[in-house]
């Protein structure tokens, strides 16, 4: 089943999401990677305004390739989320509701997601050309000096992802692995190597 969600997300929508649900995200999402996270948290520590109002918003861990002529963005797939684990609980405290990245999260992040009723979505790592086609507008809103790691506001239409951590503490990476561990291949002659 595929669920259409809009960003910023409503709490009613977030409560309906379960691990393993395929989703299509439409609306506004904000990019941030390692250094942008550091700077946002520094701003929060100094009681300064973060580059965008965090409450209820979606963060996408992504730094695109340069936009070729005639395109709004280059290749635009997710980066490894693990690198942001140390910063994530703080941003969830500040009101972030949806995070999009690739790969699994630390136990601390998973606890914080549950506590704040937020979700983590995984997108297809290595499918940057496909994911770029779901991005219709791009605006750099902060930290322009970081180049591809600047904070951008993206307008997305039907951006595909899967719910990896829901508000109940479920984890797709654990559940998926447990389900298929030790299974025999079918056809049994796969792989053909």
């Amino acid at each position: 089943m595929t669920i259409n969600i809009t960003s910023p997300i409503k709490s009613r929508e977030i409560e309906e999401l379960a691990v393993g649900d395929s989703v299509l995200v439409s609306g506004f999402i904000y990019t941030a990677r390692d250094t942008a996270h550091q700077r946002i948290i520094e701003a929060l520590d100094k009681k300064k305004e973060p580059p965008f109002a965090l409450k209820g918003q979606t963060i996408y861990y992504m730094g695109p390739s340069p936009a070729p002529p005639g395109k709004v963005i280059g290749s635009a797939g997710p980066t490894t989320s693990r690198r942001m684990d140390a910063y994530t609980p703080r941003l969830l405290d500040a009101g972030i509701k949806v995070i999009i990245g690739k790969g699994s999260r630390s136990p601390e992040v998973r606890r914080a997601l549950k506590k704040h009723k937020a979700v983590y979505l995984a997108a297809a790592g290595g499918a940057g050309a496909l994911l770029a086609s779901a991005i219709t507008e791009v605006e750099v809103i902060a930290y322009e000096d970081l180049g591809p790691e600047a904070v951008m506001r993206l307008t997305v239409e039907n951006f595909p992802a899967v719910v990896a951590n829901d508000i109940h503490g479920g984890d797709l990476f654990e559940l998926g692995r447990a389900e298929y561990k030790g299974r025999k291949q079918d056809p049994e002659d796969y792989p053909t190597q």
């Binding site: 390739s65 797939g77 980066t79 559940l175 796969y190 053909t192």
Partner: protein
């Protein structure tokens, strides 16, 4: 004796950097389609479809397959009867990387000082260049743009000799299991066994250049590849780590003699976006 202009090397490298980033090899595509047939997880199949579709879009629109356009790993096999004229070989390669990444709108992802400044060099240089002198009078250039997500999960283990084949298999399984979804499976697993620490890792990296699934010509090593592949695909990691029966598309092993006290095992993981292109001048 054959003379090759340094400028021809620059041009070739610039073109290969772009082609590798835009066009996924037919062997990789075919392995992905087979994986889609075999994968038991519906979610895994859904994402394999996205990966295959991604390759089509990248090719049509000349967009990089992945926004991480990688470290430019360049292999040079230089015939001993080749004479390079009109410039410095390594500088010619670096210039090719610089031009290729600029002209192709590829993401520049190299930072200058790994443990402190980490300032982007803005042209994706320096490349990582591996040079080998071989018989003949031609120059083979291979460009392998290697993404960080998969490279970060590389592992080297210096096993005890008595750990043997079982030890090798378990070392790979542990590496793939711990890496989970981070290196973007389904993977191609480069495996280097023997030699010394650095030689094992180089063999593992070079093994990634083989056609996907092409077995090692030595039957005993081919058998090891198959055993490792079956073991890894039983881990359940699956496409992108979401669970499934296809965690790796292939295992490519290279083996060489080693010291009496040693059993070096190196694993170099390649994400599904297995990009490399070559040319012979």
């Amino acid at each position: 004796m054959k003379e090759i202009e340094a400028s021809a090397i620059t041009q070739a490298v610039a073109r290969l950097c772009q082609e590798a980033n835009f066009f996924l090899g037919e062997d990789v595509l075919s392995a992905l389609r087979q994986a889609h047939q075999a994968e038991q997880s519906p979610l895994g199949r859904e994402f394999l479809t996205q990966i295959i579709e991604n390759a089509r879009i990248a090719k049509e629109e000349k967009l990089p397959l992945c926004q991480d356009c990688g470290t430019a790993v360049v292999f040079l096999e230089i015939g001993q009867d080749v004479h390079i004229i009109g410039g410095d070989l390594n500088k010619a390669v670096e210039e090719g990387v610089r031009r290729g990444y600029y002209q192709g709108y590829l993401r520049k992802g190299i930072v200058s000082q790994p443990f402190s400044d980490r300032v982007n060099t803005r042209d994706n240089t320096p490349a990582v260049i591996h040079t080998e002198i071989v018989p003949g009078n031609s120059l083979k250039i291979t460009v392998l743009p290697k993404g960080g997500g998969a490279e970060n999960k590389s592992r080297l283990a210096m096993l005890l000799p008595n750990e043997g084949k079982r030890g090798v298999i378990e070392m790979v399984a542990r590496t793939v299991e711990e890496a989970g979804g981070d290196p973007c499976p389904p993977l191609i697993i480069g495996l280097g066994v023997g030699g010394t620490g650095e030689k094992a890792m180089l063999m593992a990296k070079k093994a990634l250049l083989r056609k996907v699934g092409e077995p090692n010509p030595d039957p005993e090593i081919a058998h090891l590849e198959k055993e490792v592949l079956i073991r890894v695909n039983a881990l359940g990691v699956g496409p992108l780590g979401f669970g499934g029966t296809v965690t790796a598309l292939a295992v490519h092993a290279e083996v060489m003699p080693t010291h009496i006290t040693s059993l070096p095992v190196a694993v170099n993981l390649q994400c599904h976006s297995a990009r490399h292109k070559e040319v012979t001048l």
